[in-house]
């Protein structure tokens, strides 16, 4: 038995198919991650002695205050943005340390913190969805702290 179906019906399916495959293709092609890296100084003092320091943005401050850290004030020392294509690695300097980020595909990244001279301090692999932050930090002189904050912005 031959069934006749209106051409408009098949056209609609073709459009749906193209739409789905087009979005899927765009999704694969636009898989670059954009990561913002900030070097932040944490202190108990409300004012930084360095006039070039500026307080961190409100959303970062909110997230830092939710962490088990004793400092109440955080100042941005430097900031960088990194575009990371899928399966690529980017290495950049942040203050006196280097950070190497590798996109493992999808949401997964590998972050390596390197000290001066290239010595690897810590390497972490995790999912890094948009809006999340990864903080690598440690104690600094005079009961202050240094924090390398990575935030995925896209």
């Amino acid at each position: 038995m031959r069934i006749r179906v209106a051409p408009a019906f098949w056209r609609a399916w073709v459009v749906v198919g193209l739409l789905v495959s087009g979005i899927g293709l765009a999704d694969v092609l636009a898989a670059d991650l954009k990561i913002e890296a900030q070097l932040v100084w944490g202190t108990a003092d409300a004012k930084s002695p360095n006039p070039q320091h500026k307080p961190v943005e409100a959303d970062i401050l909110k997230k830092l205050r939710e962490l088990p850290l004793k400092w109440s004030h955080y100042f941005e020392v430097t900031r960088k943005q990194v575009a990371l294509p899928a399966k690529a690695t980017r290495k950049f300097e942040l203050g006196r340390c280097d950070i190497e980020i590798t996109s493992l595909g999808g949401l997964d990244v590998e972050v390596t913190l390197l000290a001066t001279g290239g010595k690897k301090i810590v390497k972490r692999t995790q999912a890094f969805p948009k809006g999340e932050i990864l903080v690598l930090g440690g104690n600094a002189p005079n009961s202050t702290a240094w924090l390398a904050i990575l935030k995925r912005i896209d």
């Binding site: 038995m1 069934i3 006749r4 179906v5 019906f9 399916w13 749906v16 739409l19 789905v20 979005i23 999704d27 997230k63 939710e66 962490l67 088990p68 850290l69 006196r96 493992l104 595909g105 999808g106 949401l107 997964d108 913190l113 000290a115 001066t116 010595k119 690897k120 301090i121 810590v122 390497k123 972490r124 692999t125 995790q126 999912a127 969805p129 948009k130 809006g131 999340e132 932050i133 990864l134 903080v135 690598l136 930090g137 440690g138 104690n139 600094a140 002189p141 240094w146 995925r152 896209d154």
Partner: protein
């Protein structure tokens, strides 16, 4: 100006369907009202034409045989009708089922694309792995609800 009811009444008068009193009233009107007279003439002409047309049709076979042929054709068409209905209903069933499924798929796909970057959908295949290469004193705190991870190092900042 005659309204539709008056026009219909005139038609009924022409067809002989009015009562005696109304027919007399209409006849009286026709002697005085030009519009009524004109419409009456038009209706008469139309009827004459239709009657003449009917008279022009001559059947080649007997009237009973002619109408029995028509009845047989109608019955034959009716016998094919259920099959046609079945076809139509199958296609419409196909459309009825597929249209919502398609819509749901599109909504789900749009949601997947929208939440692609949020991590709520399993695009992550990697488990969390941390290797303290040069700092055995490092520890990690992760707040999943806030989307925050802290890796605290004991490595001196001066280095």
């Amino acid at each position: 100006m005659m309204d539709i009811n008056e026009q219909l009444k005139l038609q009924a008068y022409l067809d002989g369907e009015l009562g005696e009193a109304e027919a007399r009233e209409m006849a009286n009107r026709l002697t005085q009202d030009r519009e009524s007279m004109a419409l009456m003439a038009e209706l008469r002409n139309t009827r004459q034409i239709l009657v003449g047309f009917e008279k022009g049709i001559r059947l080649t076979e007997s009237e009973d045989f002619y109408w029995s042929q028509i009845r047989r054709r109608i019955e034959a068409q009716q016998s094919r009708l259920p099959q046609l209905e079945h076809r139509v209903s199958w296609v419409s069933w196909f459309r009825r089922r597929l249209a919502p499924v398609t819509a749901m798929m599109l909504v789900a796909f749009a949601g997947l694309v929208a939440f692609r970057g949020t991590g709520y959908f399993g695009q992550s295949s990697a488990t969390e792995v941390e290797t303290a290469l040069g700092d055995p004193g490092a520890f990690t705190y992760r707040d999943y609800s806030a989307g925050t991870t802290l890796v605290w190092l004991s490595y001196p900042a001066e280095n």
